[in-house]
Amino acid sequence: MNFRLLSKRLLFLLMVVWAASTITFFIPRISPKNPVRERFAELARTGGFSPEDLEVIVADYSQRFGLDKPLLQQYGDYMWGILRFDLGISLNKFPKTVMQLIYESLPWTIGLVFITTILSFILGNWLGALAAWPRSPDWLKNIATSFVLFQGVPPVLLGILLIFFIGFKLKLLPLGGAYSIGTVPDQSIGFFLDVLRHQLLPGIALVLGSVGGWVISMRGMGVTIQGEDYVTFAEHKGLGPRVIFRDYYLRNALLPQITGLALALGNLVTSAIVVEGIFALPGLGTMLNSAIRSNDFSVIYGIVLFITIGIATLMVIVEFLYPLLDPRIRHQ
């Protein structure tokens, strides 16, 4: 298709990944804190081994993690590791690698993010388009506007309110967790429904929390598109409102929203991670929470890096799909 654009975007992706990994490499190292010592000092307080032992253990671990090598060599090793998808070893769950841990929890996060993003994108854009459309009935505009009120609210807060009203007061849905305590994960429909029940509240929180953003941007886009000459000319042609809405208004207004989707991915994933923590769902978010709590730094850095690379990749993919929808870019 367009080779120059393609290579330019790939280069950009590499730059983003490089910047993210460099930041995650250097920030902890310019900090006066020694993560390994921090981690084992905590164990020493609870587990009761002597300060001398602590020094030995710290030295041993530092060697094992290559922390005693010159900084530049560490940086080289680190970048080489990233290229091989090697994000190091967990400090807390020792023999397991960070990648193993990420693979265990990734499906949960992907499932949640994917479904809620698609749902909120469709719902939000549909409502936003209708809200800006002069012929929509007032009640519909009011519904759309009421979603706007959720726009500034982080999904995690909606999650807390949902837990309170629906989980705690009405006892309709569980307060958290991936599946009911005591059930054994299997392939049965019953287990699947149980999981779905547990995903419902976090899912609703995420959809409600992100719909408003789409409504606002789509409404703004819609108003702009309606001022475009081609929409006015379509009316002059005597086209019915349905055709104008579908072919002239929606099709054009949706295009920038798709670019917006790529840009919003970071926020969506961030929100999902925090929501997972509140609902104790076994995804990357809960893993991050427990890593923060137990000072498992290699896992913290690993998750951050993994998500950043993932998002940058998705952004580039969206950008490559975009020309299929917009003939202006296709022909350039």
């Binding site: 000319f233 009316e235 002059h236 042609k237 005597g238 295009l255």
Partner: protein, 321 residues
């Protein structure tokens, strides 16, 4: 001859925070089939409002206060919204200043022609619609390949032709062309005007050409109508308008045109166009008029037909003069 277009006492207001602005003030106009009239006036004088009002496309905060637009015996203002949709393009068509942005950027030109036909005759067979679209493209001298192209692949002049082709798809009785040449270079302007003249002759429609360019009007129009502050102050034949304009504003307008034989300073029109929010009482032009009389300040002049055939709205003429 029965006029194909009759605009009767058309009045349009815009409601703003600062009050009501009269954008069109009791405008009357008649046009015969095949007749071409140019509509001129300063920016904001109501030319485009008039075009939109005739298409019944005035949107809030604007409103058609009263008046009639009669095309071929049908009063458009009395039609239902549904019927008006059908009347657009088939009875009265509007050709926008299309060089910029009047075509949908994401669908093919052909699709944009076919959906226009489909909106008026949904049961027409596909190939017939296609044939009709290709014929329209041909009459504006575009290649049939344009049918499968996108707007961004066309030049400004080609886009304008496409807009004209869409305008004549259903052979309307009246065509309104709103500054169709203003964004084009001089050579293309001329070609587009020739195209308009050619298709107009083919389908015998009446044409209203909106614009600033008096030269263009003189070349290809039959009559010229002059608007000032939402009022039609004079309607005359081109010859009459350029040799003996009647209304003091038209006279000033003609005087302000550059002439080849008299070199020197351009003559402007002193003063500024009034705000539509606070029009001067009486004749709206009186503060700028060199021949203003006392009654011009209080009494609004009526429209009258002079012996020369010109219609003029001024106290200098008629029984009171």
């Amino acid at each position: 001859m029965k006029p194909v277009l009759k605009v009767v006492d058309l009045e349009v207001s815009y409601y703003t925070d600062a009050g009501r602005a009269k954008a069109l003030d009791r405008v009357n106009l008649e046009l015969n089939a095949g007749e071409k009239i140019g509509l001129v006036g300063e920016s904001g004088s109501g030319k485009s409002t008039m075009a939109l009002a005739m298409m019944r496309m005035i949107k809030p905060p604007g409103r058609i206060e009263h008046g009639q637009v009669i095309v071929d015996g049908n009063d458009l203002t009395s039609l239902s919204d549904e019927q008006m949709l059908k009347a657009r393009l088939s009875q009265i068509a509007y050709i926008p200043q299309g060089a910029m942005n009047s075509l949908n950027p994401v669908t093919r030109i052909g699709a944009q022609m076919i959906d226009a036909i489909k909106a008026h005759s949904p049961n027409m067979p596909k190939d017939k619609m296609r044939a009709r679209s290709l014929k329209a493209l041909e009459s504006v001298e575009l290649k049939p390949e344009v049918f499968r192209m996108y707007a961004h692949e066309l030049s400004g002049g080609m886009k304008q032709r496409v807009c004209i082709a869409i305008g004549i798809l259903l052979e309307p009785k009246v065509i309104i062309a709103d500054e169709p040449t203003s964004a084009l270079d001089v050579v293309t302007q001329r070609q587009v005007m020739e195209t308009i003249n050619k298709v107009q002759a083919e389908i015998g429609a009446a044409v209203i050409l909106i614009g600033h360019d008096m030269g263009l009007m003189a070349q290809s129009m039959d009559k010229v109508a002059v608007m000032y502050a939402g009022r039609l102050v004079e309607v005359s034949t081109v010859k009459e308008m350029f040799t003996a304009p009647k209304h003091p504003y038209s006279q000033a307008l003609i005087r302000s045109l550059p002439k080849l034989d008299v070199r020197g300073v351009f003559q402007g029109i002193p003063g500024l166009a009034p705000s539509l929010l606070r029009l001067p009482s009486g004749c709206a032009f009186h503060p700028r008029c060199q021949e203003a009389m006392d009654k011009c300040k209080t009494l609004r002049p009526e429209n009258q037909v002079l012996a020369s055939g010109s219609r003029v709205t001024c106290h200098l003429y008629g029984e009171g003069a």
